[in-house]
């Protein structure tokens, strides 16, 4: 039995449907992420799991028990809020001890477990400080320690890394993964940052307009997005208008205006004549000099329109005939820029026949 089950849950605010008939299950010990743009319903869903809001329809089960009649303070579920919500009048140690105190534990036990929790987040020496004396990353860790100290069945994290700068965020991501492994508490993580979701999660539910568009492991979500929304929302992707010319068991032949025939991986639900897009990730597109021989069927010649040097990689934007633009990623493995294509250079872009995918309109 799954730890948390969301069964046909809907929540409407007047005319607006925030959560639209959503169902999924989270297993014990899992790092599960709700990913989507703002307003997609992920925070509403989180508030319903925490108990601050109730579904209009559907049920939320924890260990098979319906939570509808359990108020937030009696759910074995804690939340790490986006703003951390640390109590400003309490010290770090008192903040962390708060849930233990509410649970009515003995003073000695509270002291021991508070010290342990602070140790887990490497703040053992900061117990006497007040929240306003801490940095953003430290506040974040106090909030985590407070949420985990009495070992809830489930920890909800509402965009907890949103307020941190990029470098710190990366550090905290690693720390979160390790912490979750260490304490074994199930995490339900809410974010709009797709890179964060990919890096942290065991499974991701991509949400849009109140519905779950796709739910899978990060590599599946990234590699095999189910539709245009998921493909577009997760990472960068090239999309070009395409029509199915021939559907075979081992491949699809697509007609892409300007390029001609493009060979794509097969798709059982793609019938000849179906319209949609051909989508391919920039890192799957190889770029080479126009006259460089390439043994790939999907090879097209174009002009470098622009390039972005990002440091680890360079992104080339290549103009193909008929206004089609393709982004190609080249790792800068040699010192300096990988290959010296300049804007205006004639180049060839190519990709393997099993790369990319056809997505219906």
């Amino acid at each position: 039995m799954a730890l948390l089950e969301i069964l046909d849950v809907s929540r409407r605010f007047g005319e607006f449907t925030a959560v639209d008939n959503v169902s999924f299950a989270v297993e014990a010990g899992e790092f599960f992420t709700l990913l989507g743009p703002s307003g997609c319903g992920k925070t509403t869903l989180l508030r319903m799991i925490a108990g601050f809001d109730l579904p209009d329809a559907g049920r939320i089960l924890l260990d098979g028990r319906d939570l509808a009649d359990t108020p937030p303070e009696r759910r074995p579920i804690h939340t790490v809020f986006q703003s951390y919500a640390l109590f400003p009048h309490l010290t770090v140690a008192e903040n962390v001890a708060f849930p233990l105190k509410m649970a009515g534990l003995a003073a000695a036990e509270i002291k021991r477990r508070t010290a342990e929790a602070l140790d887990d987040v490497r703040l053992a020496d900061k117990g006497g400080r007040y929240p306003h004396e801490l940095s953003g990353g430290q506040k974040q860790r106090v909030a985590l320690a407070r949420g985990l100290v009495n070992r809830p069945r489930l920890l909800l994290l509402d965009e907890p890394l949103g307020a941190l700068d990029a470098k710190l965020r990366e550090e905290m991501q690693l720390e979160l993964i390790n912490l979750q492994k260490e304490v074994g508490v199930t995490f339900v993580f809410v974010t709009h940052a797709q890179a964060e979701a990919l890096a942290l999660s065991h499974r991701i539910a991509v949400m849009n307009e109140g519905r779950v568009e796709q739910m899978d492991e990060p590599s599946k979500i990234y590699g095999f997005p189910k539709n245009r929304f998921v493909a577009d929302f997760i990472g960068n992707i090239n999309m070009m208008q395409a029509k199915v010319a021939r559907a075979e068991a081992s491949r699809l032949l697509l007609d892409v205006p300007g390029l001609g025939t493009v060979e794509a991986p097969p798709r059982p639900d793609a019938a000849p004549g179906a319209a949609g897009v051909f989508a391919i990730r920039p890192e799957q597109v190889r770029i080479s000099a126009e006259d460089h021989p390439v043994e790939l069927k999907n090879r097209f010649v174009g002009t470098v329109h622009d390039l972005l040097y990002i440091g680890d990689v360079t992104t080339y934007i290549v103009d193909l005939p008929n206004g089609v633009k393709v982004e190609a990623l080249l790792a800068n493995s040699a010192p300096g820029r990988a290959q010296l294509f300049e804007a205006g250079d004639r180049v060839a872009v190519a990709w393997r026949h099993d790369a990319g995918m056809f997505l219906h309109e």
């Binding site: 601050f52 303070e73 919500a85 109590f87 009048h89 708060f98 849930p99 509410m102 007040y130 306003h132």
Partner: protein
């Protein structure tokens, strides 16, 4: 002319009038009061001269500690001080208990209603103070409660309640509601959320409200005079009596100075506590 100099001159012009006003009508009279408390009373009221008149070598003149000795020699004055502090304390506590739920209600009402509710709290100020106190005589008279310590505290609470509501509301309104969500999420029930989060965070508001009620009540003479009995004399009445009744200015000055010193001590204590609370919730 340099810009800095111009700005300095402007600032001078802005702060000069109120500074002058306070010097002339607050600092100077206070000093006169301090001086008066060390003088002898005049033969026909007022003050005896500071310097001996050579023509009348027997008349009292100069400085003395006599009035202070007198103050401490009779237990009645300490009693009146203690009683005044008791009334001030009772008024402050009743105001706090009555104002807290009201301030909380206003702070948690929808934003568009709050201004109207605050206006209603201060609305009694629109009518004359004496009229409001006389109204209480009309209410308490038939109930046979007039001219008692109870009537004094009722009047004091009624007049000073807004001074407790406003600072409390200002404080409570600033609380981040997500803190209450967090407390509830971490297992706190409604009472624990109030006692562990709302109340400690509101301490600075409580202290400023308490100071705004306690200090004026301590010096108030109109309410005890109108609503109190003969045994409900407070320091305010005593001071007023010295200046206007028995015309013993030195003793009136002494009583005033003693009151000011005690009030300042309390104010310093309250300010210290409020600062401590504010520093932690900042």
């Amino acid at each position: 002319m340099s810009k800095a100099k111009g700005e300095g001159l402007t600032r001078w012009w802005v702060i000069a009038p109120p500074t002058l006003f306070l010097l002339l009508f607050f600092a100077l009279p206070s000093l006169i009061m301090v001086l008066a408390s060390f003088q002898y009373p005049g033969e026909y009221g007022g003050l005896a001269p500071l310097f001996k008149d050579p023509a009348r070598p027997d008349a009292l003149a100069g400085l003395t500690l006599e009035t202070y000795r007198f103050f401490f020699s009779d237990i009645i004055y300490v009693e009146i001080f203690v009683r005044s502090f008791g009334v001030a304390l009772a008024t402050t506590l009743v105001c706090l208990v009555a104002a807290y739920p009201l301030a909380l209600l206003i702070a948690r009402s929808p934003k568009k209603h709050r201004d109207l509710m605050v206006l209603l709290v201060v609305l009694p100020f629109a009518s004359n103070f004496l009229i409001r106190v006389y109204s209480w005589m009309i209410i308490l008279g038939p109930l046979d409660l007039l001219f008692s310590s109870f009537a004094v505290v009722v009047g004091m609470v009624y007049v000073h309640l807004p001074f407790m509501v406003l600072p409390l509301y200002t404080n409570l309104e600033k609380h981040d509601p997500v803190l209450l969500d967090a407390a509830q999420d971490l297992g706190a029930n409604a009472w624990q959320r109030f006692w562990r989060v709302t109340f400690p965070l509101s301490l600075p508001g409580i202290f400023s409200g308490a100071a705004l009620v306690f200090i004026p009540v301590l010096g108030m003479f109109a309410i005890p005079e109108l609503l109190g009995g003969t045994r409900d004399i407070l320091i305010g009445n005593l001071i007023k009596e010295q200046f206007l009744g028995s015309r013993d200015w030195p003793f009136g000055g002494t009583l005033s100075i003693m009151l000011t010193v005690t009030v300042l001590a309390f104010a310093a204590l309250a300010a210290g506590l409020a600062r401590g609370g504010a520093a932690r919730s900042g």
